[in-house]
């Protein structure tokens, strides 16, 4: 209890200490580093960190990573079956937000996107105003991070997943025709996951299936193939979102002390999964399946695909079903959401990175609302050509999601 109060106090004093007229993100950036400022060069770099970011020059973009927040298990009660409704209340089951993404963390709720009350992203009307209208979008895909994957009881996990999917459908998809959503599944139970995919797939507003980057066993393993088979059957990509159910320490060197440390480490889980999906032969088995890595970052891709190619040349006999260079598989079967765009603080790096990746088909526009990655509506990092912007915002998402392409006709 004490801890909660201390945290809240910190936030209150933090809110009152900044200039209201400053752009919200910069306020976070400045407030977050009160100790910085003595070092002039550093400060200049920080002040200019968002120079060159621009607003979307096009209407009708598709935002491929938006987070609706479940207010609590109470909000889900009417969307779950009788058994779990009673158990949730009887046992006081609540507070199931993911430790990977605690909704109270400042960087996960941009100052100007926070609500007067409740978790950032928990009010559909605000999301409509801030995101759908704010960025003049044709569609926004909702990735609900409420942590149904965390439950060790697989029956509880599917009970919660059904409730979350029903809640998204009733409270969000039915609210605005521009919303689309990912099907949340109990990933540690592929059989139950497939039931849930089959239950919802006929609703074309569910455009993909969501898994988390960290799980009990690597994603490519045969254990998960029933999920991929169902995805292929229904023409649904799989989105892999940052986060983990903490079945293992989130890094190879153990438990990081800090949230920022863990957050920086997400791409390593993604890279492990990318390798796993390739080496285990998922694309031999399901050649048309697309994986969308969300909130993964993507500037780490070039060294990763180079090394994967090199190691494949040495060790391909270990996995002879991988019959082409991993970089080619990445360019054909993997997609990456735009935010966070981890480019250099001075704004450089993106154009060369895309050249190194060898394709501008792989990036999909996202705001990652309500997480804070940019200022105002300037969601596009510097270094993109006009045609790349058009592709990232519209063409690439439509090519990735058959259901969006159909709906946009």
């Amino acid at each position: 209890m004490h801890l909660v109060i201390i945290v809240d106090m910190a936030r209150i004093s933090f809110h009152s200490s900044h200039n209201k007229h400053m752009s919200a993100y910069r306020a976070i950036a400045k407030g977050a580093g009160r100790s910085v400022g003595k070092h002039m060069d550093d400060q200049v770099l920080l002040d200019r960190a968002f120079d060159g970011f621009t607003e979307l020059p096009v209407k009708g973009a598709v935002d491929c990573d938006v987070h609706p927040a479940v207010p609590g298990t109470g909000a889900l009660l009417k969307y779950m079956d009788d058994h779990w409704r009673e158990q949730i209340v009887e046992r006081g089951i609540d507070g199931l937000d993911a430790m990977s993404f605690p909704p109270g963390i400042g960087a996960l709720g941009r100052e100007d996107w926070r609500l007067p009350a409740g978790k950032p992203g928990s009010d559909p009307d605000r999301t409509i105003k801030d995101v759908l209208d704010g960025f003049d979008l044709s569609f926004a895909i909702l990735n609900c991070l409420y942590h149904v994957q965390g439950a060790y009881d697989e029956n509880m996990s599917i009970g919660l997943a059904r409730a979350v999917n029903n809640w998204v459908k009733a409270e969000w998809l039915d609210r605005d025709p521009r919303f689309r959503a990912s099907i949340v599944i109990p990933t540690e139970s592929p059989e139950l996951a497939v039931d849930e995919i089959d239950r919802l797939a006929s609703d074309k507003r569910f455009v993909q299936i969501m898994m988390l980057a960290g799980g009990e066993i690597p994603m490519g393993r045969r254990f998960h193939w029933p999920i991929f088979r169902a995805a292929e059957k229904h023409g649904l990509p799989i989105t892999v979102h940052a986060g983990t159910n903490y079945r293992h320490a989130p890094t190879s060197i153990g438990w990081p002390s800090f949230f920022v440390e863990e957050y920086v480490g997400h791409p390593h889980m993604f890279q492990m999964q990318l390798l796993s999906l390739i080496t285990e032969g998922v694309f031999t088995k399901f050649p048309n399946l697309k994986f969308v890595f969300a909130e993964s970052g993507f500037t780490w891709l070039p060294p990763s695909i180079w090394r994967a190619n090199k190691t494949w040349k040495a060790m391909r006999v270990e996995t002879p079903w991988v019959d082409r260079p991993p970089a080619e598989i990445v360019r054909s079967n993997f997609r990456f959401t735009l935010q966070p765009s981890d480019i250099a603080l001075d704004g450089t790096g993106l154009a060369k990175t895309i050249e190194h990746i060898g394709s501008d088909d792989v990036i999909l526009f996202s705001t990652d609302y309500p997480h804070a990655h940019f200022e105002g509506k300037r969601a596009l990092p510097p270094g993109l050509s006009d045609s790349q912007i058009r592709k990232i915002c519209i063409d690439n998402p439509l090519a990735t999601y058959p259901r969006l392409k159909e709906a946009s006709r």
């Binding site: 045969r222 032969g281 031999t284 088995k285 040495a314 391909r316 002879p320 079903w321």
Partner: protein, 137 residues
């Protein structure tokens, strides 16, 4: 392109390999199942001596978990980074279009045929009764 007599057939028994210097170039000649293959003794990737590599099967697969083995002994695996080269073509398995080990034509000729020339074997005593391994370079 000239023909070079590098060895008597019996000098490189089945399953063995031998290295030679021909016109200043290190080459390795393999006797794989009675057939001879000559390759520049230098991996096109990082220069490793291919004569120290292993001859392994071709392993392919159309299905995860299924290993289809064929052509035993016909893939030359680099002793360093394990890149595989087709001993018949020199082509890299992973990058056949642009990476290949330099390969030379090899033939076996009886000594009586060699006597007629033209062959480069100035200091090599050729006996009419033996068979010889010839490398074209």
């Amino acid at each position: 392109m000239a023909k070079h007599i590098v060895a008597r057939v019996e000098d490189i028994p089945v399953g063995e390999r031998k290295t030679f210097s021909v016109r200043g170039r290190a080459i390795v000649v393999f006797n794989q199942g009675g057939e001879f293959f000559a390759i520049l003794d230098k991996c096109p990737h990082s220069g490793a001596p291919l004569s120290k590599g292993t001859l392994v099967s071709l392993v392919e697969s159309g299905e995860p978990g299924v290993y289809q083995r064929s052509r035993p002994g016909e893939m030359l695996k680099c002793p360093w980074h394990s890149w595989e080269f087709d001993i018949r073509t020199g082509q890299s398995y992973c990058d056949p279009a642009s990476t290949r080990a330099k390969k030379y034509a090899v033939s076996v000729e009886p000594g009586c045929a060699l006597a007629k020339g033209p062959f480069n074997a100035d200091t090599f005593p050729v006996s009419l009764e033996d068979n010889y391994v010839i490398v074209e370079m």
